[in-house]
């Protein structure tokens, strides 16, 4: 019978709709969209522009170096905030309950959030790169711009898992605080705002193990600045953190499932 032929909705169009809905949800919250897009530019304006032509180790300009720093900061920021806060808020408002009762597979929900986060992350670069070019006078080979962008987007994936874990482990009201307490200090400690050499000694000793440190090195290496270790080891450490964050997120998700849906 014809009624038996279509049993489920096709996943492709569903994913497109869901991702678009997720995007609109974030885009229409200025506290998220404006800060994600403008904060990195603002930091660049305050810290990067004034000394952008100063030449650093390895012959790169501070303008280019700080562009790499802010690219990493901006992208990781989107991943952690968009996931962490939106997941925590939706749990708080019990949106997950109605979604669970629909025929949408949970993987569509997860993928749509990943896609949205990547699109948003790309948008922050679309704002930041021209700003650095025009206001900061950063001149790089076209291939370097592309390498920088693709590396920070790919390297951001472990932070999606971190955001997801935070979203499931913290409450809707505490998510912002938890994220700021984790993210801002590690961003500083990883040298995204100031060169690590200016940081207190004990922070300098922890810094080389932080996930944002490896992520930052991917960016700095892309524009030709010297880094510790090798590019391969940066990727491997980041991948290891990715596996750990993903396991943590999965554990948190399962814990929630068991509490709410059994």
């Amino acid at each position: 019978m014809a009624t038996m032929s279509v049993r489920r909705a096709p996943v492709g169009p569903m994913l497109v709709r869901q991702a678009w809905a997720e995007f609109l949800k974030l885009w229409r919250v200025p506290a998220f969209s404006a800060t994600s897009l403008l904060l990195p530019v603002m930091f660049y304006a305050f810290i990067g522009i004034g000394q952008s032509s100063q030449i650093m180790q390895g012959g790169v300009t501070f303008g280019a170096y700080f562009l790499a720093s802010m690219s990493v900061y901006a992208v990781a920021n989107v991943m952690i905030f968009s996931f962490g806060i939106s997941v925590a808020t939706e749990r708080g408002m019990k949106m997950d309950v109605l979604m669970r009762a629909t025929p949408m597979p949970p993987i569509v929900y997860l993928l749509s959030k990943c896609i949205t986060a990547l699109v948003f992350a790309a948008l922050t670069l679309v704002v930041l790169f021209p700003f650095a070019y025009i206001a900061g006078g950063v001149r790089l080979d076209p291939s370097v711009w592309v390498t920088l962008a693709s590396r920070v987007l790919l390297g951001s994936i472990p932070f999606i898992a971190l955001g997801f874990a935070i979203g499931y482990l913290s409450g809707p009201n505490s998510a912002v605080a938890v994220i700021n307490l984790i993210y801002l200090p590690t961003a500083f400690a990883s040298g995204l705002f100031f060169p690590k050499q200016l940081l207190p000694q004990f922070i300098q000793s922890i810094a080389p193990y932080l996930p944002l440190h490896f992520f930052g090195q991917l960016g700095w290496d892309a524009i030709g600045a010297p880094t510790d270790g090798t590019l391969t080891s940066d990727w491997l450490y980041l991948a290891a953190y990715g596996v750990f964050f993903f396991a943590l997120a999965l554990w948190a998700y399962r814990r929630e499932e068991n509490a709410k849906f059994t």
């Binding site: 279509v6 909705a9 569903m14 609109l24 309950v97 109605l98 629909t102």
Partner: protein
């Protein structure tokens, strides 16, 4: 007919709390069933089991013969739940389009909007809707997939009389398309207007499963209260009373024939004062139903 939704000897414990003590229920395609019961009776838990949102502690829940969380089963079902949230920063039309994409053969967006009476609000953000409009949006989301079975958990809760009346009409309109509707409610009146079958649940058990007419005849409709000194059980003998309770000299009777009871009281010359006659609320109705059950 074939089974749309089934509970087979289902029990559910939340820690030490026994929410369902063994419920069996068979809902056929095309039926309109109301689950009636007081708060905490187990109605929402029953619906949650049928939707796969909760798992039975023992026994089974089936949707179209499948496990309720099977996506093939869920693709044939629309749901309106109590206490569930929706994204507030999406427009009504966007949210309906999103939910339509979850289903294999959704209805037109405009038709879903019209069924819920949200034509003027289709461009509004969800956060701009009033409580009643939001409730209608939940209804639109439940029907937009053109489901064969519609589950509605307390759909009219928090609505005023007018809102409730028009909402009942919308549900009836959907049921008239030959669809299966399963709803839970506090109100016998609502069950009476919509359903051909009423399942009464109390303390985790089905205590009645019959047509609304049968249920009504078993439920005492009026409460008669008065003060009488030295009233004995013998004084009330033979009267059409479902239950009677006494505290000091205050007497409360539940009955379907208050006039006959009063006539008989006067005829027997019983001295009464502070007489009150009022509609029995659900609490009273359930007392009479449960006691009916206990008396066989």
């Amino acid at each position: 007919m074939s089974a749309a939704a089934q509970l087979i000897n289902a029990t559910k414990k939340y820690g030490s709390l026994e929410a369902l003590k063994g419920i069996s229920l068979d809902i056929q395609l095309g039926e309109v069933v109301a689950m009636l019961g007081p708060n905490g009776a187990g109605k929402t838990t029953s619906i949650s089991l049928l939707l796969g949102l909760r798992k039975p502690t023992s026994g089974q829940a089936l949707l179209f013969g499948l496990k309720p969380d099977h996506l093939n089963a869920r693709s044939r079902v629309g749901v309106m739940l109590q206490e569930s949230g929706i994204p507030t920063m999406l427009k009504v039309s966007e949210l309906i389009d999103l939910f339509r994409s979850y289903y294999p053969k959704p209805m037109d967006r405009d038709r879903a909007i019209a069924m819920a009476g949200l034509e003027e609000k289709s461009n509004a953000l969800v956060k701009e809707l009033s409580g009643g409009q939001r409730q209608r949006l939940y209804f639109a989301l439940a029907v937009c997939g053109d489901p064969e079975v519609l589950f509605l958990d307390e759909p009219t809760v928090g609505m005023d009389v007018e809102g409730r009346r028009s909402f009942i009409e919308r549900i009836a309109e959907f049921a008239q398309m030959g669809r299966t509707v399963v709803l839970t409610t506090h109100y016998l009146e609502e069950a009476d207007q919509l359903a051909k079958r009423v399942v009464v649940i109390d303390r985790g058990l089905v205590i009645a499963d019959a047509t609304p007419q049968e249920i009504k005849s078993r439920v005492a409709g009026k409460r008669v209260r008065f003060t009488a000194v030295a009233l004995t059980d013998k004084d009330l003998e033979g009267m059409p009373i479902t239950t009677s309770t006494r505290a000091d000299h205050r007497v409360q009777l539940l009955t379907n024939q208050p006039e006959a009871v009063l006539r008989e009281l006067f005829r027997r010359g019983i001295e009464i004062s502070d007489l009150e006659v009022s509609g029995a609320d659900l609490e009273d109705a359930f007392i009479s139903l449960t006691s009916h059950q206990a008396n066989g």
